[in-house]
Symmetry: C2
Subunit: 202 residues, 2 copies
Amino acid sequence: MSENETATGGRPGRGRRPATEVRAAVLTAAGRILLDEGLQALTFDRVAREAGASRTTLHKWWPSPGALAAEAYFARSRPVLDFPDTGDLRADLIAQLGAFVRWLKEEGAERPVSQLVGAAQLDPGLARAFAEEYGRPRRELARARLRTAQRAGLLREDADLDIVVDQLWGALYHRMLVLKAPFDASVVPRLVDHALHGAAPR
Amino acid sequence: MSENETATGGRPGRGRRPATEVRAAVLTAAGRILLDEGLQALTFDRVAREAGASRTTLHKWWPSPGALAAEAYFARSRPVLDFPDTGDLRADLIAQLGAFVRWLKEEGAERPVSQLVGAAQLDPGLARAFAEEYGRPRRELARARLRTAQRAGLLREDADLDIVVDQLWGALYHRMLVLKAPFDASVVPRLVDHALHGAAPR
């Protein structure tokens, strides 16, 4: 098989697609399977079939179905991760975290992300893929918005932005993964106020 | 087999042990296996053998090896979870979280707790057991210390103590499970200061 045939995913008779298009189709199919049916359903065979790509291509691009799942999850959740920047940090954080909670609780993302983080604890390769393809890019998006706020004087100069990320999104993961405590978007304003102003008397 | 033989774990010729003693021996053996070798090594067979108990007893007391592992993890980590109460909330939180980080990073608890939380995402029974046997009792211990501080006026009356727990311990779980970002006890004072005073200008 030539390089080109591999990259285009081998759909004979339907013309060669550029690699970026095949890649996008694979991520879309993987994201759909992950969200609708969960991590167990996501195999290279199934994704290749639904994306009209070859298994060889998938094996070449991703070390494991878990790694593909992690990247597909990031691609699929990408629109939910965008930050408004209205200049009102509290409102923007509430909007962003609220969208994240609805994505988890109403749009079906809680199961796949729990499964991905769960499986990652038993599979170091998946842990690396999930952190690299989702966790850290996602943290970087949040950090960028917080940095803008810090430059505008809305966060203290010595605030540790990584800790702020841990205390906003990490707090939600804690309830979801460790405590298995129910929550909805109504917790978000309190969570943001705690992250901004703390629990001690002012 | 009589009720009593079952409860004493059936070690013929060595005398009958009271059920509480058998239970303690089982939890000790399970905790040792979990910490030394990880979740995969913890089977009813292995624990029964090492604790001198019968498999029947174990099956009767725990629905699954995972549920036993969750309770054993709580029993084993119990001493690390205790709170000093010196009246200085910041110092007490730093001492407690510092002990938790050392327990994870230096005493080998990171692997088993990650495995337990991980496996729980793929096994609802284990998720329930882990939340009931570890996550929530652990949160209750933290909440009790925070409540004392709140009554003493060291936390605001309207502070949400569950959120404070999420923003202290949950932040560490976030780094450990989701970001796979390295950390050590040096992060703890900053984490506590953020939870107490927030990231916004005072």
